[in-house]
């Protein structure tokens, strides 16, 4: 990927797209890469318009109504509903979610 100082006329190469797909855990077919790099480049060029705006001294928005995040008491509010939730799970056994072997 280009560096942060080289925003103008940025375009994403097929290598960039493959790297992003790996980061986002998305498998991508070889036939999809060219179209995706063209479209993502268009999107990045669209958002690059932001770089020209002077934002010195501007606080980034944290909440549109400037309200603080509310905290709740650290108290138990839900009871166990494992069977209900696991009814949607693709594979479970004895209350555990099954995944492919992760330790060789």
């Amino acid at each position: 990927m280009s560096t942060a100082s080289e925003f103008r006329a940025v375009s994403l190469t097929p290598e960039d797209v493959n790297k992003l797909c790996a980061l986002a855990r998305l498998e991508i077919g070889p036939d999809e890469v060219a179209d995706l790099s063209a479209k993502l480049s268009d999107i990045v060029r669209l958002v690059d318009e932001l770089q020209a705006q002077d934002t010195d001294g501007v606080e980034p928005m944290a909440h549109p109504l400037e309200r603080p995040q509310r905290l709740r008491p650290d108290a138990v509010s839900e009871t166990d509903a494992r069977d209900l939730y696991q009814a949607n799970a693709p594979r479970v056994e004895q209350g555990l979610y099954l995944v492919p072997k992760v330790i060789e």
Binding site: L26, L65, V99, V102
Partner: protein, 484 residues
């Protein structure tokens, strides 16, 4: 009965002109008969609807009714519904049966509303045409060759075709207002935090808000009255008191000052669409409002800000779809990484993938400050423009969309053209402001909308202005001939 507004149906139920069961059977029959072309519903819950209707009739007979008791509505399939599939328009959740209901759904159910089913939508609410749905495009009841807008396109088409009396929607960048404009409906996106986001499948959490698609402002007031309010389950829910929206509709009319952003009427806006909007402002002027031109200096940056903030939040929110706990899971995988990658490749459609990858890009190491932080700073500037405007005017008004409905397939392969549909609506989301679209005319037989934007928590002012406009005009009473 389907030509009546929700408000009129409520009066009819109260006057015992028909029962909730008769009304529900009527809408279910229309869905059965007419939805094959429209594709507005993903799931129809006929049995549950009739059971709810019987409960509503009993409640009415027992004198325990709210105005919504027995009113048949539909929910966008982004809202979780206990025991009913909640797909979010995605293959990823095609098999997901929610173990709980969204607060918005629960509140409408408590009020006695009858759920007819779940409406089609752009996948994960990412789209402006309803063409990104796993369940296929929704068609516009005004012209079946055209899109109904999106992402709440199924809700919009269902209400416009008289398949339900009103529907819920969500609006992250215009997803209620844009389809409302394109189908001749009244669409309300409330203040950020006014309605709970609990159980509403997350797209961009700092922008998402639940609202309504209805035939009139009065109908919207009825639904919002039940939907709005504090919810401890949503950490961004506002705990401000909910006003009596219905009482506000007909409260004495003040001299409204309406600001019109001149930069909303640039070369991107269709000339006839612009003319319809200008004429609707004349209606407000005849009602005694003062129309004042204004400039929103940074609003042209709304689309770039949105396409950093929304994909960034989406890439984070959608990381939960991994094939382990719920939803789609790929078969015959090699290892855990392969499970994630193939599950997500199979479960998500093209537009959702683009947004995830855009979000991954703008959040990646070395890019965060230049994209996400810069976008949140420009977002502050855009919000500041609105706050300054509201020091001088009571409402901001302009077009909802640049053009009337476009043809199915016309923009689907050009994301940038699709994104520009939301150029006028995104600002209200970025600033967390309540906004509406109301029907204000037709261009080539297709409806167009007037957008009204109000200061934070001023939904009552919006609804009242829209209601007054709808007493002077009949654009909102027009129905497509095929569905009359």
């Amino acid at each position: 009965m389907h030509d009546k507004t929700l408000t009129e149906l409520s009066e009819g139920l109260a006057a015992k002109q028909f029962s909730a069961r008769e009304l529900t059977e009527h809408y279910l029959a229309r869905i059965e008969q007419l939805d094959a072309d429209l594709n507005a519903f993903v799931t129809v819950t006929a049995e549950q609807a009739l059971a709810q209707a019987d409960v509503a009739d009993a409640r009415r007979a027992g004198g325990d009714a709210t105005p919504l008791t027995g009113i048949p509505i539909a929910h966008k399939d982004i809202f979780c519904t206990t025991g009913v599939r909640t797909s979010c328009g995605s293959r990823m959740l095609d098999n997901f049966v929610s173990p709980y209901s969204a607060t918005v759904v629960a509140r409408l159910e408590d009020a006695g509303a009858v759920m007819l089913g779940k409406t089609n939508m752009d996948e994960f609410a990412m789209g402006s045409s309803n063409e990104t749905s796993y369940y296929g495009p929704v068609r516009n009841p005004w012209n079946l060759e055209c899109v109904p807008g999106g992402s709440s396109g199924g809700s919009a088409a269902a209400v416009a075709a008289g398949l339900c009396s009103g529907a819920t929607g969500t609006d992250t960048g215009g997803s209620i207002r844009q389809p409302a404009a394109l189908t001749g409906l009244t669409g309300l996106k409330p203040t950020y935090g006014r309605a709970s986001r609990y159980g509403m499948i997350a797209f961009a959490s700092s922008l998402d808000q639940a609202g309504t698609l209805t035939r009139s402002a009065s109908d919207a007031a009825h639904l919002m009255q039940a939907m709005a309010g504090f919810d401890a389950h949503d950490s961004t829910s506002l705990d401000d008191a909910v006003p009596d929206y219905l009482a506000e509709l007909d409260s004495p009319w003040e001299q409204l000052r309406i600001g019109v952003p001149e930069n909303f009427f640039d070369e991107g806006l269709d000339a006839e669409n612009a003319a319809a909007v200008r004429e609707s402002l004349d209606v407000f002027e005849r009602l005694g409002a003062t129309i004042k031109p204004l400039q929103l200096a940074h609003v042209h940056l709304s689309v770039p800000v949105y396409y950093v903030v929304a994909p960034a939040e989406a890439s984070s929110n959608l990381s939960r779809y991994d094939g382990v706990r719920f939803g789609h899971r790929a078969d015959d995988v090699d290892d855990l990484i392969d499970l994630y990658q193939r599950t997500r490749a199979e479960g998500f459609g093209a537009e959702v993938k683009r947004r995830i990858l855009t979000g991954t890009y703008v959040l990646s190491a070395g890019y965060f400050d230049a994209y996400y932080l810069q976008a949140q700073k420009v977002r502050q500037l855009i919000a500041g423009d609105f706050h300054r405007a509201f020091a001088e005017v009571d409402l901001v008004a302009g077009p909802t969309t640049p053009t009337p409905a476009f043809r199915i397939g016309q923009k689907v392969d050009d994301p940038i053209q699709m994104y520009l549909n939301d150029i006028y609506t995104i600002g209200a989301n970025l600033a967390g402001l309540p906004a509406m679209s109301i029907p204000c005319g037709f261009v080539d037989g297709l409806p167009v909308g007037l957008q009204l934007i109000a200061p934070h928590l001023m939904e009552g002012r919006l609804l009242k202005a829209a209601h007054r406009f709808q007493r002077e005009t009949d654009w909102h009473r027009r129905v497509p001939e095929r569905y009359a």
